[in-house]
């Protein structure tokens, strides 16, 4: 967002800590369009651990954490884990250009929250914000700001949730 004007300044180092919600909440269901114009619902993935990430292409920390989300997605491919990246108020062309700039293929579903209604339901204040939802559909962890999601500590927490 303002990275161009602060190009010389370092952004905060991406950490790995996730905050356990003191009172776990049931994850509100939603249905959104994905890149190929199909629609998917959160409830379709009940039984998997979900990393629900709210992001936008213009958001510098979102860009920085995206490669670690893809690595995590690849590492747990075929297991009871899925990344869902919920884009805010952008379209397929913007995502396509973003993926090209990033230099990696994003293989997890990217969903379009075109009016930010899903982010409001999840009380997202700023981007990026990420929730980890367990196999029963309960929000267990939250991260505000960018993270290195393929850090061993995050992997360990997700593995624990997959084993529950």
């Amino acid at each position: 967002m303002f990275s161009a004007q602060a190009a010389e300044r370092e952004q905060p180092k991406l950490g790995y800590q996730l905050t356990a919600l003191p009172e776990p909440l049931s994850a509100p269901d939603f249905t959104l369009e994905v890149m190929d114009a199909k629609k998917i619902s959160l409830k379709d993935y009940r039984g998997k651990v979900i990393m629900l990430n709210f992001w936008a292409t213009w958001c510098p920390p979102c860009r920085r954490e995206m490669p670690s989300m893809e690595r995590l997605h690849q590492k747990f491919k075929g297991k009871e884990f899925l990344v869902l990246a919920v884009n805010q108020m952008e379209d397929g062309d913007q995502i396509f250009a973003f993926s090209g700039d990033l230099g990696i293929d994003l293989t997890f579903p990217i969903l379009f929250d075109k009016d930010s209604s899903v982010s409001r339901t999840y009380e997202v204040q700023g981007l990026p914000t990420t929730y980890i939802i367990d196999k029963k559909g309960i929000v267990r962890f939250r991260a505000i700001g960018g993270r290195e999601f393929d850090h061993p500590e995050v992997e360990k927490q997700i593995l624990q949730l997959m084993q529950e």
Binding site: A6, R9, Q17, T19
Partner: protein, 188 residues
């Protein structure tokens, strides 16, 4: 070149203003060699805040490509806008409320910082749906949480001011001050 700022006078003003313990924060100032724009960074007691000058043309570019009218873009660009990065550097829970933050003008008069909620209320009336880019008006940060967004101050562009911010760490309210701040110039 890093500069350390610590003024007893302003601390007294801060105390009377918010009745909150004042922290002796270390403030560093960085000048971007290419643009000349300044960044102030203050780190103290579990909280880090960085305020980056943003010039009006940059703000026009950010909002001009969204569903904002030309008049609305100009209105935002008329504010003194900073890119802000705030961070919980502690191992405890931390919270902040922009509504508690103030800027103090040359006449030592304190004014509230305009919040995201106030901006969004105005934008909604103008039919604008975009709701991002501004620093959230409040936050509850766990370990490692951080956030960034624009902070807007309504002051004459050439006027020097002090910026007073607060945060709550493990239930205790803290306050810090960055002195002698300035807006980005109208043109680079």
């Amino acid at each position: 070149m890093p500069t350390k700022i610590n003024s007893l006078l302003l601390k007294i003003i801060c105390l009377s203003l918010l009745n909150t313990p004042v922290q002796a924060a270390e403030v560093t100032i960085h000048k971007n060699d290419a643009s000349g724009l300044l960044t102030w960074t203050s780190k103290d007691n579990g909280f880090s805040i960085e305020l980056i000058q943003l010039n009006p043309d940059f703000i026009r570019a950010v909002y001009g490509k969204r569903d904002f009218s030309v008049d609305e873009v100009e209105r935002i660009a008329g504010y003194c806008v900073f890119g802000s990065i705030i961070q919980n550097t502690s191992q405890q829970q931390l919270s902040y409320r922009v509504a508690d933050w103030r800027f103090v003008d040359k006449n030592r008069k304190a004014y509230p910082v305009k919040t995201k909620a106030q901006w969004l209320a105005e934008w909604r009336k103008a039919g604008i749906t975009f709701a991002w880019t501004l620093l959230p008006e409040s936050g509850n940060f766990g370990i490692g949480d951080w956030q960034q967004g624009f902070t807007t101050i309504q002051i004459n562009r050439n006027e020097i001011f002090d910026f007073i911010y607060t945060w709550t760490l493990d239930g205790e309210k803290n306050q810090g001050t960055i002195e002698n701040m300035s807006c980005a110039p109208a043109a680079l």
